[in-house]
Symmetry: C2
Amino acid sequence: MLNYVPNDVARSLSKKSTKTIALFVPDITNPFFNELALAVEKVTQLYGYTTILCNTNESAKIERQYIQNLKQKYIDGFIMATNTLTEEEIDQLDIPMVAVDRSSSPVIPTVTSKNRDGAQLAVQALLRQGCSKIAHIRGPKGLWIAEERCQGYLDLVENMPWFTPKLIVNGNFQLKEAAEAAKKLFKEHPDIDGVFAGNDLMAIGTLRALQEHGIRVPDQVQIIGYDGISLAEMVYPELSTVSQSIYEMGMIAARILIKKIEQIHLDEENHQLEVKLIQRGTTRHG
Amino acid sequence: MLNYVPNDVARSLSKKSTKTIALFVPDITNPFFNELALAVEKVTQLYGYTTILCNTNESAKIERQYIQNLKQKYIDGFIMATNTLTEEEIDQLDIPMVAVDRSSSPVIPTVTSKNRDGAQLAVQALLRQGCSKIAHIRGPKGLWIAEERCQGYLDLVENMPWFTPKLIVNGNFQLKEAAEAAKKLFKEHPDIDGVFAGNDLMAIGTLRALQEHGIRVPDQVQIIGYDGISLAEMVYPELSTVSQSIYEMGMIAARILIKKIEQIHLDEENHQLEVKLIQRGTTRHG
DNA sequence: GAGGAATGTGTAACCGGTTACCTATTTTGA
DNA sequence: TCAAAATAGGTAACCGGTTACACATTCCTC
């Protein structure tokens, strides 16, 4: 008889390992993280690991709870798309860990994209395509990727005659908040004709706000987002965006984590992925 | 010293239970299932259980793999928002199980909404608000909830002089497919002035297709979706929809499952939740 | 104060694998 | 052919809890 199935729990107990890793995401309803999860899962499965998805809902408390809970269960490692943990905590956790998209500490390997370059790409395109007053809907204060993208925007517009810091408003990476922010922004500056949003969700929120006010996109205002989530192709007009290879980010992060778990040497712990500008319906390109 | 932390794996081994349940969803990128997951997680956490989210990607193979894998890990129960398993399989699995939204077998407790009633609600509203030719973008053939919603539509329009079965087209519950289907539909029947879609995603796809063709919503065509996902409020115009309490569905399913696991008696295994029509920007209501 | 119940403590077996170690067998080479 | 080495098979301890059962102690009642 060959119908013997080993008992995973018993094995885990003696090996102190479960062949399971956890992916922490701050917001499961953001398609960006879903695509990331798909990629991570694919790679881990290939190596015989199971992935479990943890939605922290942007809450540090939930995140810590999950971590304690999972450590007790002999989880083998973490991929963090969140950044609430302090450096100390990570140090004393003493479990293989990789950061993706957002990074909370320089001590752990990080996979991210060239945010500043990407932002410049977007703003360049807006300028080239005739915009004469460009606003930026930015992500949360203190979040590294939001700062970088904002910086990329500033790099190109800071010295423009029309520039004022009031053209930068916060949308917290969320659709609804960005829509609100955009409404206020356009009320105060009706002559804005270009918007670079810190992520696609906020760009879509901006689009929605403009449509509500009867402002034509891209005729009157051009919009570019950031991320390249599939939702960007599902709105009308389709969203122009700075696309990062989300799938690749997930795959690389997963591979790095597994190597760390299995103690295989890594030549390069950090990865910065290239981004590319995809122009669609919200911009007036060639 | 009170810093003793019991070892979960050892406990699981001897108790043959992990205080963990799994939620299976067919498509993690569909916001409906995210909202469901949030609800399930909330309840299970309350009862001391951990939930793990499994994305089956509509694939029966992946689903079976997960199930095998998890059974070996002493999972305590399953909540299935999928319907690929056969009745036999469920029987011989011999693990507490609850179906939510979709049901694959009458032998397991099911939490769903009054689909047929909901569809009627939508079509009634369209008729009342002046539509004289209403189409239906339906969900996958063979899927119970899709059939029910289609039936609800038929209940009201089957005997109308303008009705023809060609007004029913398949969109597979997906945004893109529905947009394509809608385009074709409107090319053949330009006089359609109302659409009831089998879910919100398809309604949004329809909206997108119409916008692309310069057809004004709700002036020329009114649209109603089904589900009440939050994305419905994020498009412009905001989508009118038949809202089911997704959160409640998740909570009820979780509670039923936990009771089954802990062998507490249930008076009522099946639940059919009420739905309500929410009119927003895609309909011309009073 | 003795008999019985009620409560407390201690120990060993068990959950089902992994692994280190010891003995038995086969293989290899001089 | 025989000793040493390589391989095979078997056993016991261990991972870290749970639980059942034996035994000791306290309490209550007549």
